[in-house]
Symmetry: D2
Subunit: 351 residues, 4 copies
């Protein structure tokens, strides 16, 4: 990972600002002869769209993807796949008052420090809008890992302090909040409504589960798969924590309880979350990410302007009351991209 | 990060197995004209040595480092710095009985799946011994970031379920468990003794604090500094979770409480942990890592052999009762390596 | 360099097939606050267009570039610059007869061997059309190196066996064949006409001259600037040889004649071509590349089909009689990209 | 390629200065389960040693290699292979008079400009001594490509202006100058003696021939195999030109003579040198490199000192009269390293 590119063999580069003409991704290194259509990608983009809950952003991007290269007669050719998503429905004027102010919790102040210039409209490059390109690239990654039997699904484990239990990943997929626990979801929805009414936002926890991953993916020391997954997920704007398997709970265990006994049929428990010494073990990969509340709130907030003078800011624009559930396909996409890359790397060892 | 190398400009490659002739690191890309001696590196290696607590490993490595290249008359030359640490005091025979068995909680089974071959002695490449090379490289990284005013210190926040409070980072440095809270440390020591007596091990939480980091380090989207830090730390064998700033607690906050108000004098709070949109903000960087208990326990454990047949294993060898405090200089080293790399990357923008 | 990306800090990725919807480039790592407009890029693309000589390709691409990201109010922001060039005036039907045949001298047979699939229309990814994206990216690179005083100019040193002399690089820029020697150019034009009339094509030699390059660019051993320049230029489809300074003539010199004596005012000769031990010396950089004749000729040629059966092929499509002069801005672009990257790398050493 | 590392999957990093304690290489990414012993590597190092001709350097390095990691019970494990070659027989005092002078034709002046510091003894990092590490790494690369049937052999095509013909690659291997043409070799030896007697040095041309390379190696656009080979070879200190297949002669051909007709049995000619559009075609790969004369000559030369003042230098030390034949195993090693990397990359496409 560096700059705007992730991956060693399956390399994804994204580009685009929230209020520029378009956003997109290049996938370089995708294996040839894989069936791939715009519909395959559109399906994932549609999963990322604002929902129908009243707590959702009223911005209505169609997020229509166009494949510009790398496909011939419906199949990948091995050459770079260029994906283009035009931005539409932009209301850049809403940001004019923020040109010289730093929004708390946003990257305005750090981008200014880094580059000495920034596109203030909608967060520019740091906007959540950029994740559309990730989801599009992730759809291609899913096509690469599917033949190996790998499936990825994420669900809402916690939102606004309300915890859900996992009954079935299928149930998560069809629920508005990607929460498989109807009772918990009902309370989450209510809390989201409260937050929205109060001009506030909520955080939560997403769990990502990978099934069917073959053992052996990951490299020693600095190319460990847990390291790459953690980096890929922590690189989502909203994420402030990542844990694998037992995660932070492992810190309170003893070795005799944390170790997963091994039997001929597999691991008896899964505190390791499917990864041992940075290499997949064949068990289910289990990852949780902590999502902070969206920093765009309707409250007046203390800040400074680009001259360092104190100011009060009220952030306009159109925003969700939580990144959940829209962040879920983004988390899945990042995991898919990392796994596609490592699956390809592993193929190189068979000389 | 890929394979055994980390960094884009300040690149560290480590090599070596626990029971091979030596371990070491190459640092490629270190700026020239920096004073660097073996003593600078030895100092950090000495911080990683087993302590004097009875819960520490009886393996007595001197970990003497030799600089083989990249230094001329006491200064770096800009060419690769090769560091060599000979392995000594190896008792490989203790591992002979483990040649065909997979130790639960260790990478034996995943390495075998990946490579079809493994050096079973002491965990081979997956041994904690490899972290000596990281600490040595981290000592060089510290020399690169020191002139920018950056300091890194880590402390034991939790061990075996006992939580400590931070009074002073200086106090942490001089305590046996790197714990600045004497009362908590006393209880931690007692719990470690209990665990050791029971042939068991304990996990804990380390907090890393970076002071003096200039704003602007980190790159958009896939080169974010929180992503790189998370990847670097999750790539330490023992780590199962990483969080930054408020971390998992942020998932339970509202936007109005999580956002850090900005004043002319700086941020009023630091839930962001010094990083906004993946770029340092100038505030203190705060990171916590969850360390699992060391999997080498004296208890008999269920496992399988390389033929898939059930077996019972009792792990010998010489081990600590916890990776804490020895993991602390390793965590610091990884953070130093990431910051040195990003500090150098940031210098490239001033064209 | 790997896949479709070149550069460590100033990273260029190109994408697109000859007869796909578009071609383009991403520039990731461009420093911020540089004035950049579509006109800056268009100017270079226009230099690459087919000329008005009758030996030029009748394909009339407008090659209109659109900047999709990375620019705010006329300046670079440090985020990825996405460039889009739509393909127009494609006559894909002309290639239908070549779907199952391998054109001699083209990549058809090697792409088929590599990927088991290929876009046969106009050479697909291997088309010279891809170089439009390189030229566009090179225009951005020129903006990065210009403030350092670096200028790059190439000229036609040889075409169809006719050798020219260099009087003035300015004269080269305004001549139809980028040849500063009017007498030689006249003969070159006549030979091109003969070749075209005979359905044949010609090769030649281009010399690239870099002035104002500061000393110190390039890295030891595997990041040498001559290595990177040679790789970048050999990666242009038509190029079969690269030499620097005295080049192949150096093989026939003695050390006492080849060494460039050094005086207080600089080097007395320039057999080294401005590069010593892989690092620029401050002298003019001089590189020559050998361009093979375009393999698309009107003659019937022996070949095989995708089943390995013998066949005779006659290549249609619209082609130039020589890659010269259109290859000249491509050579300049590749040199500009390499120098921009190394100039940025060199800035990292000043810690 | 960047800094001191080459390769994407089969990654070689070399380190070490001519008069430092040692030189060495790390090979990261070597596939597991390959038989590898120190003898395999020593054999190649021995091919690089000074010969018995009186024109050879009297420096007598044993170049004994030690494998420090990555091997278990005689086989590669997939973890980094660390190779160590101690420097011996150094006469650093001979260089003391050169501490403040720049040797013409050497990298002294460019290294000083780059780093502001340099190890002046024997050229430091820029010494030909560094190539020992390349040859050692190349020996490992050969083990990776051998099972695919790939063989690499280089020979002396020209020395001091005397051209040889290739009868048999086997004859080249057993001749003192790696020249398979005994009559030409006799004249070359005489000319080398003359040069040595005159305190001068000679250049030459080496041809590298790769047999058995499967078609399909190489990547589009910026990862072409001819680009990578040219970069790898131009990165050898002595090399000032690289050409593939017909090379510079192609610039004087017409398309109808340069194109290689294809028949069911293969290519009828090989002007392409085994590479089409940057991807191997299955034909023999043919590369030639131009080697400049060694710049260390016994003549007094004009130069400047580190203060920019004019000076006369007479270079001492122990040197060969030509890099040929010692450069031959270095050329072979670089080709082997590039092919091993691309062979591994190609394995990734089979998903």
């Amino acid at each position: 990972m560096s700059g705007n590119t992730i991956g060693v063999l399956f390399k994804v580069t994204t580009w685009g600002e929230s209020h520029g003409p378009a956003t997109g991704a290049i996938i370089d290194g995708c294996p040839p002869r894989i069936d791939l259509s715009e519909a395959d990608i559109q399906k994932e983009l549609d999963r990322r769209r604002p929902g129908t809950l009243s707590s959702s952003s009223p911005r209505r991007e169609e997020d229509h993807v166009e494949i510009l290269s790398g496909i011939f007669e419906g199949k990948t050719t091995g050459t770079p796949i260029s994906l283009l998503i035009r931005n539409r429905d932009m209301h850049s004027d809403a940001y004019e008052g923020l040109r010289d102010l730093f929004r708390p919790g946003h990257g305005d102040i750090s981008y200014q420090a880094k580059y000495g210039i920034r596109d203030h409209r909608g967060g520019g490059r740091a906007s959540g809008r950029e994740t559309a390109a990730r989801v599009a690239a992730g759809a291609v990654a899913r096509k690469v890992i599917a033949p190996a039997g790998i499936t990825i699904a994420a669900w809402t484990k916690e939102l606004g302090g309300i915890t859900a239990r996992l009954h079935s990943l299928t149930a998560a997929e069809t629920s508005p909040l990607r929460c498989p626990d109807p009772e918990a979801e009902k309370r989450m929805v209510a809390r989201l409504e409260e937050a929205r009414a109060a001009g506030d936002t909520l955080g939560g926890i997403v769990e990502i589960i990978v099934r069917g991953c073959p053992p052996g993916l990951g490299e020693p020391v600095f190319g460990k798969i847990d390291a790459d997954l953690a980096g890929a997920l922590m690189g989502i704007g909203t994420v402030k924590g990542v844990e694998i398997g037992a995660g932070f709970a492992a810190a309170r265990m003893s070795g005799s309880t944390c170790n997963d006994p091994i039997g001929p049929e597999g691991f008896r428990t899964n505190h390791a979350g499917g990864i041992l010494a940075g290499i997949t073990s064949g068990a289910e990969i289990v990852i949780r990410v902590a999502c902070k509340p969206i920093p765009s709130i309707a409250h007046p907030q203390e800040t400074i302007d680009t001259q360092g003078r104190p100011a009060v800011i009220t952030v306009g624009g159109r925003h969700d009351a939580s990144v959940i559930p829209r962040i879920i396909p983004v988390c899945e996409a990042m995991v898919a991209i990392v796994l596609a890359d490592h699956l390809m790397r592993q193929r190189t060892l068979s000389i």
